[in-house]
Symmetry: C2
Subunit: 282 residues, 2 copies
């Protein structure tokens, strides 16, 4: 089966209406503001951000499968010396809309923008808010495991008495089996803090979004052949990653110029007709 990758030019609030319920396994996006592209959507003020977002997230909720995930990469800006509250207000509003706020991952930007201000340090992190439709959702934890620290080597040589004691107190049966599992382990599950560098490519767009970020969430929350949506596709980083990982994807982007870039970099076909579009996702 070949992988489908498509980009649609338009506002996701409108364009998603043509998609069926429960069409996507994952929605991962970095909406305007993290991107500073809000002006392309008509210059939404921070005070109006929640109001602007909700009709769109309502469509996200509809087109996402019950086992799917919605990952929202966002960070509030500083206004008049203060962190603005529109992001945390958005969390509350999305919960009211029916989303479950399952987790908040932190993207630690190892090489963040330089700068110096009298009242704050450089901003080196962004939120990756994880929303779901239900408490049971798809999560492939093994796909994102990381090598254990060096301490594991010493651990393998001889098992500490502590392990035995703790094990004793809790179980009693199945003693040997679990110890064996432990000793064979070289990989560990990650935490909810992602250490990724920003990409500093010389592209024509302002994509602060490194491909490693959608990569991580796509592997974690989808299988091959699943459908991924990026409703604020920008230059198509998410689509490109999805295609390389063998996932079908749809991107929606309001700016024709970005759509053009996305089609070039991500080998993306542009959906032209509703019939075509529906056919891909159906």
């Amino acid at each position: 089966m070949t992988v489908k990758t498509g980009i649609i030019q338009g506002d996701c609030a409108e364009m998603l209406k043509t998609f069926d319920n429960n069409s996507f396994d994952l929605i991962v996006t970095s909406p305007p503001y993290a991107d500073r592209r809000i002006h392309t959507y008509g210059g939404v003020k921070p005070e109006q951000y929640v109001e602007w977002f909700l009709p769109r997230s309502e469509e996200f909720l509809r087109v996402l499968k019950p086992t799917g995930s919605f990952v929202l990469n966002i960070k509030e800006k500083v206004e008049n010396g203060e962190r603005h509250t529109y992001v945390i207000e958005l969390i509350l509003a999305l919960k009211k809309q029916g989303w479950l706020w399952t987790e908040e991952y932190i993207w630690h930007k190892k090489n963040c923008y330089p700068g110096k201000w009298p009242n704050r340090f450089r901003d080196a992190w962004e939120r990756c808010l994880h929303f779901t439709k239900s408490r049971k959702f798809k999560m492939n934890q093994e796909t994102v495991m990381v090598p254990m620290g060096d301490w594991a080597g010493a651990r393998l040589k001889s098992l500490g008495k502590n392990d035995v004691v703790r094990y004793d107190s809790q179980v009693g049966s199945g003693f040997g089996k679990n110890i064996a599992n432990w000793m064979e382990r070289t990989m560990a599950y990650p935490t909810n803090v992602l250490h990724l560098a920003t990409e500093c490519g010389n592209k024509n767009h302002s994509a602060a979004f490194p491909s490693a970020l959608p990569d991580w969430f796509i592997r974690l929350f989808t299988d091959e052949g699943d459908w991924v949506l990026d409703p604020f596709a920008g230059s198509g980083t998410t689509l490109d990653v999805a295609r390389r990982l063998g996932r079908n994807s749809v991107g929606i982007e309001i700016l024709p110029d970005y759509c053009e870039i996305a089609r070039q970099t991500a080998n993306v076909e542009q959906f032209q007709l509703l019939e075509e579009r529906r056919a891909y996702v159906g």
Copy 2:
């Protein structure tokens, strides 16, 4: 001038009433988290947390100097598979109370609690919310500069960067300029992400947060001789750090047992009388 360190046994909501307005330069604390430490604090329900907190933060607002800072280390728990919203509701409520939400620092816990669950990874971060009374506040950025590269290796308690800065300012022209240049080349300002491990020593009490955390904020937001308040002092980590950094401090702790530990570990005198207490702070 000698450094004063005191601990008061009681509920900060009551005990702070005896302090004058604008008494403290920094309030740094890690309050009891909702439903945690039930055996010690009685376990405030998440739904009641904001309501429980506000009368106390109102006193904080009163006793903090206009140029002071309030650093709140907190993290919401998971309840029924979801992150609870009481912390972000608290942010909104504190703003309404008159605080400025100046910044949110992230404490990345390098050694977080182990565990495996079907719907989430290990929680490796906590919020350090920075509130102020005004847009102009005291911030000594040079005191927390770190060697170029990773600043995880910088154990701030052992490095005397404070001394370097003070020496620089005292000597003035020639030599001071050299030091300034040297610092500019080899030291960097940190970001708003702090990489610290929790302390796992064999103490008689559970250290809520590592001493490096209050250390960092006390250096950053106070000068020597300033006054630091920890209204949920616990075993007195903040007080101990403040004393070692040459800052006066007051801790308030509701549990007599913790007060006892604090007095021992932090060389703390217990305030007994109102007159005494006022005298120290006045």
